[in-house]
């Protein structure tokens, strides 16, 4: 699942289309595809890591750059909501406020499920 703004802007779809190079897009989509068939207890590093009590990150590397997708599992633990994508350079995220934005969006999702949509671009 991915977060969509009030104006129905799907944030991950747009991030992939505007900010990711081809190699990064393929890395992200393969990571999502393999995670989607991996039992929840095997979501571990290097592809996944809890960030703190609220959010976690999907991790991948492409073109020599670390990339992160911040998100969280819905209470049923079966659906993962991607809130924002970012690049990580020397411990600094681009966009810089990625974590703050992720926290705000998580709160919105918890109060209003209509702001999430299925993300299927990694599938045929």
């Amino acid at each position: 699942m991915e977060f969509a703004t009030l104006g129905q802007r799907r944030v991950i779809t747009q991030w992939v289309a505007k900010d990711l190079a081809m190699e990064a897009e393929i890395e992200l989509h393969d990571t999502l595809r393999f995670l989607s068939v991996t039992p929840r207890q095997l979501w571990t590093r290097p592809e996944y890591s809890p960030f703190d009590a609220e959010i976690s990150e999907i991790r991948f590397k492409a073109n020599g750059l670390q990339h992160r997708v911040f998100g969280f599992f819905l209470s049923d633990e079966k659906q993962y909501v991607m809130l924002i994508g970012a690049q990580k350079k020397m411990k600094i995220y681009d966009p810089r406020d990625a974590i703050e934005t992720a926290r705000k969006r998580r709160k919105l999702v918890l109060t209003d499920r209509s702001c999430i949509h299925e993300y299927t671009d990694y599938q045929f």
Partner: protein, 195 residues
């Protein structure tokens, strides 16, 4: 290949040669580490257990799982397959075969059952007299099953012939009737003209 796949965004991207190259490479580089972790978990193996079975070191297993499989030799893959008791398929294939594999990816495909178990299940599923049958009752029961199966195949053949084959031969003679005769072990199908 179904229209859902062909109409997908991902399919159209694969028409780009560079995209295709990266996609194919990524299925190995990312897919093998995911499979190794899933297989290890299913077999309740630690990295060191796998390393011992595959005659390598825990460092090598850790590196594959964390850094990808792009530099793995086929020899290492063979040893890993042996350690997990699974088949290893390394060959050149048309792209549609890879697409189908990716599209059909599932937890079961990620972590296949051991070959020993699969072969035993296949053997057990065979509907024939077991070599180790100990009682005549076993054999009798099996023969009755086989006879029933054989009768249903004969009946199916007859129905198929009557419905699909004879109408073609007897075009223009729709009054004809189809009859079956048992001649010893053979089944004879006869088309009789009503006239």
């Amino acid at each position: 290949m179904n229209t859902r796949i062909i109409n997908s965004k991902l399919f159209s991207k694969l028409t780009d040669k560079e995209y295709r190259r990266l996609f194919i490479a990524s299925q190995i580089n990312k897919g093998i580490p995911f499979q190794i972790r899933a297989l290890r978990a299913a077999r309740e193996m630690k990295q060191s257990d796998l390393a011992e079975l595959a005659e390598t070191t825990q460092t090598v297993i850790s590196r594959i799982e964390n850094k990808g499989a792009s530099n793995l030799t086929v020899q290492t893959l063979v040893k890993l397959a042996e350690a997990f008791d699974v088949a290893l398929v390394v060959r050149f294939e048309p792209i549609d075969k890879l697409i189908e594999w990716v599209d059909d990816l599932s937890p079961e495909k990620l972590s296949p059952e051991p070959s020993d178990k699969i072969l035993a299940e296949l053997r057990d599923s065979l509907d024939e007299v077991p070599d180790e049958a100990t009682s005549t009752q076993d054999i009798k029961r099996t023969k009755v099953r086989q006879r029933k199966a054989s009768t249903s195949i004969e009946q199916f053949s007859f129905n198929f012939m009557a419905k699909n084959v004879f109408p073609i031969f007897s075009a223009g003679s729709t009054q004809g009737q189809v009859r079956k005769e048992q001649l010893g072990r053979d089944l004879k199908v006869v088309l009789e003209d009503a006239a």
